[in-house]
Structure formats: structure tokens, C-alpha cells
């Protein structure tokens, strides 16, 4: 019996029926694409790793914008849990405004739930403006706000008038959608409606790009920025790690959108295409080959010979600088196996890097992806909307005639689309080895069961799983927050990532877990001992 069948056999009929389509074994002999179910409701009681709409909106997309005061409108918990817990780093710009270290909440109490919380929200905005003088205030609502019907958008509109600030509300109550994914979409819509396109200061450099879906976890965005600047690009804005309102407001004047995390930000990329004609390119700055391909793709897009030459120079220099380290790390990691379960694109991106170190992927899955993240965007027309996704607003963006511009001629566009990922994401499955498993919304039981069956040496996941796995003798690294390390993106990040894996796999303590008297008594060899000897 293969692992899928064995795991499904442990479920009751209803759970079996739900889960069977979320698990597949990669089969390279199958004709056509393999289909997986995704972005559907989690089964109650199943111990999913998923979070909620608020987590996707405030926690992922809106929260990292450093110079906006983001007020969580709700009881204290939700705001508190998103305070300094994601490792999205930021440094203040010239204006000194960096609110990342702060947590703002209306801390709703029982009377606010009974009589409405809008008065408290109004007052909270006033207090924030008086204390901090921000140019922008965001409001993110939590579950009870939607239920009691506080009109946060009206409060935001009033605040704009009264204080002369930008104030935008996001109705991202936790119960909306089926995961964080709904929140990403709501955040994308809000930024598109209110921020993007509100400032027409053009970029200074010849080649200007936005970096979308890069949240600067552990400083990833800064390492990518370093490389792009070396090549000669101006990064007008980063969505949204260490992002700022000014950059986002004039991001429509960039020449090209680079999409790193496809899931959380593809809506902005598409809407900017419709409104401003701006193309987007799927990039991946994790893994040396992927970085090189992304940089070359960008140079191709701009079609400038000097830029191409500079790209090759930077690539050569950067690769040379890490060659010795990566060769050593590969010698320590070759032959190991890995499982990856992260949110959006990382489960895919990190496979590139792992492969370079000789580590084979045996299992990978996404927490809140849609089918296109697994199967590629070609599947988009076939995805049926269900009741949960219909509830999330789909913005119909009109062409902005004054600002619309086309960078590539239709011929050039068609030509480029043949060999770079121009407005294309081909999904994770196609890059996975034959016989490996893809699991959508992997849950606690499946994590344990797949680990027992596939015995990966390393399991990349989040903090909720980490100690479940390590208690069982499998090294686990957090690929959401990089434990306390990073950056892992870029050339230098690759080395740090490899170093962290070697550090974890070869920790002397693994070999000490089983006490000598148990070994002498003929006790079974620990898994940790076998794989980490």
C-alpha cells in the first residue's frame, strides 16, 4: 500500500471523502497534469495548521508596511498574536516612522460588543494620530466586528476628512474564506483601491521594478535588494516586507512587477496589469539556479545589452563568492531527504535550493494555496468558485487611461513568453520528483503519519509542528520564520540556509537521546541516530 492509501485508510468515511483529493503521489507517467483539491474548507476537528482571514490580511500583507499605524479592531488577542511574531524586519526611513515594534488594538470589551465598537474605533484613531502623527492608518477587523456590524469603512472615511490622513479599513474577519488566503485577497484589494496609484513621482533609474510577495522574513528582502541594486535596478516598492506607503503609492510607475510569493500577491500583479498595463514576472530568489534564472529573465525582459552583461558579471561574482561554502555544505547534506509544508510559494521555492545541496524532496504541501499554486496557472479557467470564495470580493479593475502604458510590443511579449515566466507560474508539482507526495492543508495526523512512512531527514514546517517532529527524532526547521535565522534568500542566504541544516542535522545531542543502558538492553536504534550519524 502506498503512503496515501495507508493514511487515508485510518480516516472515517467523511474525512476520507474530504481528504482523498488533497493528497497525491507525483506520477511522471500520467498523461496530462495531476489534479489536486485545494482552497476548500478544513474539516472541523482535524487539527489543521491553517490560520484565518485576519492572519492573511493583517498578519501577512498589511502588517509589514512599516510606516502605517495598523489598528486591529477587536478584542485583544488577534492584535497581540501578530505583534513581533513573524520576523518581518523593517528599518525606519528618513521620516523615522517604523511602527513594526508596536501593537495597536481597540481591545474591545463587552459593552463595545453589545452597543457597537465604532465609537471606540473612532477614538482610537484620534489617539493614534495625536500620539504618532502617522500619514496612514489601517484598520483590520476581527470576527465580532463583522458580526455586530461596525461600519469600519465609514469610520475610516470620517477619519480621513477629520485628520487629513489616509485611512483604509480592511474587513478581514477571521471567519471569511477558508484560510489566510482570503485575507491576502482582501489586503490586495485594499491596497489597489486606496494606495497604489496615488502618487505620480516617477522612478529615477532606467530599470525600475517592484518586488511583490516578499515579506522580508529574516531579512530576505534586503538580501534580494542588495543583489538587484548591484545589477542596477531601482526597487520602487516591496510588497510588503519593510514596505512603505510612499513606495507602494507610486509602484504603478515601475516598469515591471516581480512576483515572489505567488499566492499572497498575484491579485495585485493582475490588477496592476489591467489598470496600468504593467507586466509581471514570476521570480524566485531562493536557490542559486533560481536566482540566476530570475536575474536573467529580468534582463531579458528589459532587453538591454549592458544590463544583460552586468547581470552576468554580478552572477559570476556572487556565485564565486559562495562556491566554496556551498560545495562544503553539499558534501554534508547530499543524500538527505526533506519534507516541506509551508504557506504559499516557499514549499516550492526551497526545493530548488535543497536540490542544489543534494537533498531530495519526499513530500511537499501548501497550507493555504489554490490549485494554480500546485498545478500552474493554466488551470485557472477550470477552477470552480465555491460559496466560500464567492464571499471574497473580486475587484473589477478598469484601465487607467492616463497612466496605462505598454512596455513590450505584442511581438516581443509573445516571444518572451516562450522562454521566461512572464505572467506565468507553472506550479509546484511539475518540479517535484517522481514518487514524491503532494499534500494540501497537511494536518497534525498526516504530518505524523507521513513522517513515520517516508522518514525524511528534515521536515520544514512551522512552529506548531516543529516540536512534534523533533520529539519524534526528526530535525525540523521553521520555514515561516526561519527559527531565529535568515536571510535564506539570495546568494548569501543559500549559504546560511545550508549552514543551518548542517548545524541541525549534526547536532551532537541527537546521538545522546537514547541512554546507553537502553542501547545495551537491545533497544531499537533511534531514528535520530540512523539519519544523523
Amino acid at each position: 500500500m502506498d503512503a496515501k492509501a495507508e493514511i487515508l485508510s485510518r480516516y472515517n468515511a467523511k474525512v476520507f471523502k474530504n481528504r482523498k483529493d488533497h493528497i497525491l503521489r507525483v506520477d511522471r507517467d500520467t498523461d496530462g497534469a495531476q489534479e489536486i483539491a485545494a482552497n476548500t474548507r478544513a474539516v472541523p476537528g482535524i487539527m489543521t495548521n491553517r490560520g484565518c482571514c485576519y492572519a492573511g490580511c493583517k498578519g501577512v500583507v498589511v502588517g509589514p508596511i512599516r510606516d502605517a499605524v495598523t489598528i486591529t479592531h477587536g478584542p485583544i488577542g488577534c492584535g497581540f498574536y501578530t505583534w513581533g511574531t513573524r520576523r518581518n524586519k523593517a528599518r525606519a526611513g528618513e521620516d523615522g516612522k517604523n511602527f513594526i515594534q508596536y501593537c495597536f488594538s481597540t481591545d474591545m470589551q463587552e459593552p463595545d460588543i453589545v452597543f457597537g465598537g465604532d465609537k471606540k474605533l473612532r477614538r482610537a484613531i484620534r489617539e493614534a494620530v495625536e500620539i504618532f502623527q502617522p500619514k496612514t492608518v489601517f484598520i483590520c477587523s476581527t470576527c465580532p466586528v463583522g458580526l455586530i456590524g461596525d461600519d469600519i469603512h465609514a469610520v475610516a472615511a470620517e477619519a480621513e476628512k477629520e485628520f487629513g490622513i489616509t485611512c483604509t479599513a480592511f474587513s478581514c474577519e477571521g471567519y471569511k474564506g477558508v484560510s489566510q488566503s482570503a485575507g491576502h485577497h482582501i489586503a490586495n484589494n485594499g491596497l489597489m483601491k486606496r494606495i497604489i496609484g496615488s502618487n505620480d513621482t516617477p522612478p529615477a533609474a532606467k530599470f525600475a521594478v517592484n518586488l511583490l510577495g516578499e515579506y522580508n522574513i529574516g531579512g530576505d528582502g534586503w538580501e534580494v535588494e542588495r543583489i538587484l541594486k548591484r545589477v542596477g535596478y531601482e526597487i520602487v516598492s516591496i510588497f510588503t516586507g519593510d514596505g512603505n506607503i510612499e513606495g507602494i503609492s507610486r509602484s504603478h510607475l515601475s516598469d515591471l512587477n516581480l512576483v515572489q510569493c505567488h499566492r499572497s500577491i498575484n491579485y495585485v500583479a493582475e490588477m496592476m496589469k489591467s489598470a496600468y498595463g504593467m507586466d509581471w514576472l514570476k521570480v524566485n530568489f531562493v536557490g542559486l539556479d533560481a536566482i540566476c534564472a530570475s536575474l536573467r529573465g529580468m534582463a531579458e525582459y528589459f532587453g538591454d545589452d549592458a544590463l544583460k552583461q552586468r547581470t552576468e558579471e554580478v552572477i559570476a561574482e556572487e556565485l564565486a563568492a559562495v562556491a566554496e561554502d556551498t560545495a562544503f555544505l553539499k558534501s554534508r547534506l547530499e543524500g538527505k531527504t526533506a519534507a516541506l509544508f509551508v504557506g504559499g510559494s516557499r514549499s516550492h521555492h526551497y526545493q530548488t535550493l535543497l536540490k542544489e545541496f543534494g537533498v531530495r524532496t519526499v513530500l511537499a504541501g501548501y497550507e493555504f494555496a489554490h490549485r494554480d499554486d500546485y498545478e500552474g496557472r493554466s488551470v485557472l479557467p477550470d477552477i470552480k468558485e465555491d460559496a466560500d470564495s464567492k464571499n471574497i470580493e473580486h475587484l473589477n479593475v478598469e484601465k487607467d487611461p492616463a497612466r496605462y502604458r505598454v512596455f513590450l510590443s505584442p511581438e516581443r511579449y509573445g516571444e518572451l513568453k516562450q522562454h521566461i515566466d512572464l505572467e506565468e507560474y507553472r506550479g509546484m508539482i511539475r518540479d517535484m520528483p517522481d514518487g514524491s507526495y503532494v499534500v494540501d492543508d497537511l494536518n497534525h495526523f498526516e504530518t505524523e503519519a507521513f513522517t513515520a512512512l517516508l522518514k525524511p531527514d528534515i521536515f520544514f514546517s512551522g512552529i506548531k509542528d516543529k516540536y512534534v517532529l523533533q520529539k519524534g527524532g526528526t530535525l525540523s526547521r521553521q520555514l515561516h520564520s526561519y527559527d531565529y535565522s535568515g536571510p535564506y534568500a539570495g546568494f548569501r542566504g543559500a549559504v546560511l540556509f545550508g549552514r543551518d541544516l548542517v548545524m541541525g542535522l549534526y547536532a551532537p545531542a541527537w546521538r545522546l537521546v537514547v541512554p546507553p543502558w537502553k542501547k545495551q538492553a537491545g533497544g531499537t536504534q533511534a531514528k535520530g541516530d540512523l539519519s544523523h550519524a
Partner: protein, 454 residues
């Protein structure tokens, strides 16, 4: 760090900045993890429990299991009864706990889900149990949620007809497994047969064995919760975390209750040890008296380093009151004492302690936040910060040493194994405080002032 915090304190009535509390459900979840073979369950949208599990895992560096009713928009409109029914079936089928402890969320509370009715309506296997507690996030704090979950277990399970067992129930308060181990050790030395409820030791500090066990050895057995009804008395440690559940037990099963402060520091530990010895009908054992003597020895030896040092203490109300009592005993001077949890009982308790030591000039506030604490410190600094990880920003901004104690400590390892309660906990705390202050002195002093001897 925190450069945007102005020194000028302005009145705030609506905006909470840098809170010193979180919401009820996470406390309820932690309480439920202290019951053997229990699956905590969050009746709300799945984001709640994802945050709570994350948060507890980060504090304990241990798996924190819990399931969710995974509300969607539909459930929020039509009620979460069907979700709970499906969840209970799936949890028993897949994870096989003996008991599911359901707590509510602001979502299910706001729509008015009736958990009593839902649970009555669910078919539960004969040998399995489902209990619940109402834990609206917009009332109190995580400490309230902890208390409410204990009350929930008692309401469902404590048996008024249980045979008198001569044991003493001990409610340990919102503390670490290391504290609970220490309390159990003290009780064992005092010769007092006790039921520790809840008991996260062995669960949230399970040993590394290369085998993951979903339900480790620890946790209060369900039989012991039933037997609470037959206990001779209950010692409830900490007013905020334990007084209410002790009262529920008293009302339901006529078990007389003594509410004691969390045994942090000398006097509070004395009170606990004395009560335990009295319950056991024995003298306080020599071993405990020796430990007490060692703590006093340390306090007097290191006194010059404690004397008159000003301290900001923040965190959960029972813990903070305990820490304040102890630093007063050390000769330190509490300057700011805050908790995010609302409740004037906190200010009364702390003020009484301050009066006992004739210490003036201390700002005490419940329902406060760390932003205002920082503002106060900007106006008048302190020598030491004593509290949770979230004080580290203030510590860095103002260059003040920080000693971590209480909940949560997200940025260090090992704290959950070691106690702050009891005389041993006092020795540990005194050492941490002295080390922090003396390291600072060594760091800052001129070369000619760096002494190798004391």
C-alpha cells in the same frame, strides 16, 4: 527601538498599545493541557487556535495540541452546532483523547452559540467526555480564561458524591511546569496527599525520547478531577487564576477553600508551606526549613546588590503580585507595577504589600499596557525590568537589564523547566536578579573599579 514612544503621557481611553495581556481562549487551552489525555478544542474560526497553539509552543518549546470548529461565514450565520458535532466525532476518531475540553471564542460568544445545548445534543462515545467553558475574548484576559476552564471541568466532572478521600486539592495557578513540579515536591515533603489540578508538568515539558506521544504521561487524571468533590479542602494559589474555580468547587461539592497568594518569595511560600503542613497535620519538615534557610542566606549575602534598586514589574496579576512581594523582601523598590488584566483586586493586593514594607512612590495599575509603562520609565527610569519577553523592547530602548519571569517568555529556553515558586524558586529568582544587576555593574564600571571579589 521604540523611538516613536513619546515621554509625554497622554490620556488614552480607546487605543491599546503594546498590550500586557491576551485573550481568554489561550488560557483555557493551557488549562486543558493540564488534564491527562485531554484534547483542547476552540469553538470558533480556525485562526484563533492557530494563534494559541503557536503562542504556547513558542513559550514552552513543546507541541501544544488543540482542535478547532473551523467556522466559516456560514457557521457564523447559522451557528456552529454542526461544526462542533463534526469536530467531536473527528477528534475522537482520529486523535482518540479521553476528554475534549471545548472553550468558546469571541466569534461563537457574539453569535450566542449555546454550548450546553450543543454538547447535550452530540452523541459521545460511552467512555468519552466532552466539557466546555465560556471564554469570551472581550472579557478579562488569558488568566480569566484559565480560571473559567478550570471552573468548566469542575462543573462537569467534580463529583459531590465522591467518597471522602482525605486528599487536598491544589490549584497551582497560571504557572510553568517547573513550578508545578516544585509545588508537588513541597507537598510530598510536607507529607500531604494532594490532587494537583491542572498539572501541565510532564505534558508541556515532556522529555526527548525520539518518540512523539500526543498524550504524554502528565496531566491531572479525569478520575482525580471527579475526586476533587471528595477532597478535604482546596488550596487555591493565586486570586485571579484560582479563586473562582475554588469557589465553584466549594459551592458544588462543599469543599472548603483557602485562597493563598502564588507562593513566590519567602512569606508567600511560608504561607503555602504552613497551610500544607497544617492540612497534613504534621510539622514543617526540616528539609523545607533548610531550603528556606538557604534562600535567606542568599538574600542576606547579596543584599547590597538588591538594596533600594528600583524595579518595574509587569505581567499577569498573580505572578506580578508574587514577584512584588519577593523583591520587597529582597530590599528592592517596586517603582511601577502593572498588569494588563483588569481587576482592582490587583491594585489592592499590591498596595497592601507596599504598605507592609512602607514603600511609597510606586505606580500600580491594572488594565495597563506596556506603552504607558515605557512612557513612565522614560520620565523616571528604573534599575531593573522584571516580567515577560515583551519588556525586552523597553529594556533595549532604555538600556535597562531585564529578568524574564512569568508568561509569556518567547525568546529564551529552559524557563518552563525551572520554578519561581517555593524557596527553590526564590533562590533561582534571587540569583537571576543579582546576576543581571551585577553583570550590568561589571559592564558599566571603570576598569579600576572591576572587582573580582565580593
Amino acid at each position: 527601538m521604540l523611538e516613536l514612544t513619546p515621554g509625554t503621557v497622554s490620556e488614552r481611553a480607546a487605543l491599546r498599545i503594546n498590550p500586557c495581556k491576551t485573550c481568554q481562549p489561550v488560557g483555557a487551552l493551557y488549562a486543558a493541557l493540564g488534564v491527562h489525555r485531554c484534547m483542547p478544542h476552540s469553538h470558533g474560526s480556525q485562526g484563533c487556535v492557530s494563534y494559541h497553539r503557536t503562542f504556547l509552543t513558542r513559550h514552552f518549546k513543546e507541541p501544544a495540541i488543540a482542535a478547532s470548529s473551523s467556522f466559516t461565514e456560514g457557521a457564523s450565520v447559522f451557528g456552529g452546532g454542526a461544526n462542533l458535532r463534526a469536530a467531536v466525532k473527528n477528534i475522537f476518531d482520529i486523535y482518540d483523547p479521553d476528554i475534549i475540553a471545548v472553550h468558546t471564542t469571541c466569534l461563537s460568544e457574539t453569535i450566542g452559540d449555546d454550548l450546553n445545548a450543543y454538547i447535550l445534543d452530540i452523541s459521545i462515545p460511552d467512555d468519552k467526555i466532552v466539557v466546555h467553558a465560556n471564554t469570551p475574548s472581550y472579557v478579562g484576559s488569558h488568566v480569566t480564561g484559565y480560571a473559567n476552564m478550570l471552573s468548566g471541568f469542575i462543573r462537569y466532572l467534580a463529583d459531590p458524591r465522591a467518597a471522602k478521600n482525605g486528599r487536598t486539592a491544589v490549584f497551582p495557578g497560571f504557572v510553568n511546569p517547573g513550578d508545578i513540579r516544585e509545588l508537588k515536591r513541597i507537598l510530598s515533603l510536607a507529607g500531604l496527599p494532594a490532587i494537583m489540578f491542572p498539572d501541565q508538568s510532564g505534558v508541556m515539558d515532556a522529555p526527548m525520547t525520539n518518540t512523539y506521544v500526543m498524550y504524554p504521561q502528565g496531566g491531572t487524571p479525569i478520575e482525580d478531577i471527579r475526586a476533587l468533590g471528595g477532597c478535604a479542602q482546596v488550596l487555591a494559589l493565586g486570586n485571579f487564576a484560582c479563586a473562582e474555580p475554588a469557589d465553584v468547587l466549594d459551592k458544588k461539592c462543599k469543599v472548603p477553600c483557602t485562597v493563598l497568594p502564588l507562593p513566590v518569595g519567602v512569606a508567600a511560600t511560608d504561607a503555602f508551606v504552613t497551610a500544607a503542613a497544617e492540612c497534613a497535620g504534621r510539622a514543617v519538615p526540616e528539609e523545607l526549613e533548610d531550603e528556606r534557610g538557604r534562600l535567606l542566606d542568599l538574600m542576606l549575602d547579596a543584599n547590597p546588590y538588591f538594596y533600594n534598586k528600583s524595579v518595574a514589574v509587569y505581567g499577569d496579576p498573580d505572578t506580578v503580585a508574587g514577584l512584588v512581594a519577593f523583591i520587597l523582601e529582597l530590599g528592592m523598590r517596586p517603582r511601577y507595577v502593572v498588569t494588563g488584566t483588569p481587576g482592582e483586586e490587583f491594585t489592592r493586593r499590591v498596595t497592601a504589600l507596599l504598605q507592609e514594607y512602607d514603600t511609597g512612590n510606586c505606580t500600580v495599575k491594572a488594565a495597563a499596557d506596556l506603552f504607558e509603562l515605557h512612557q513612565w520609565i522614560k520620565n523616571e527610569p528604573v534599575d531593573l525590568l522584571l516580567g515577560t519577553s515583551y519588556g525586552k523592547q523597553i529594556a533595549k530602548a532604555e538600556d535597562i537589564p531585564l529578568v524574564r519571569a512569568g508568561f509569556p517568555v518567547l525568546d529564551r529556553y529552559g524557563h518552563s523547566y525551572l520554578p519561581i515558586v517555593g524557596y527553590q524558586g526564590g533562590i533561582r529568582l534571587a540569583k537571576m536578579i543579582a546576576d543581571a544587576l551585577m553583570d550590568r555593574q561589571d559592564r558599566d564600571c571603570a576598569d579600576e573599579d572591576l572587582d573580582v571579589v565580593m
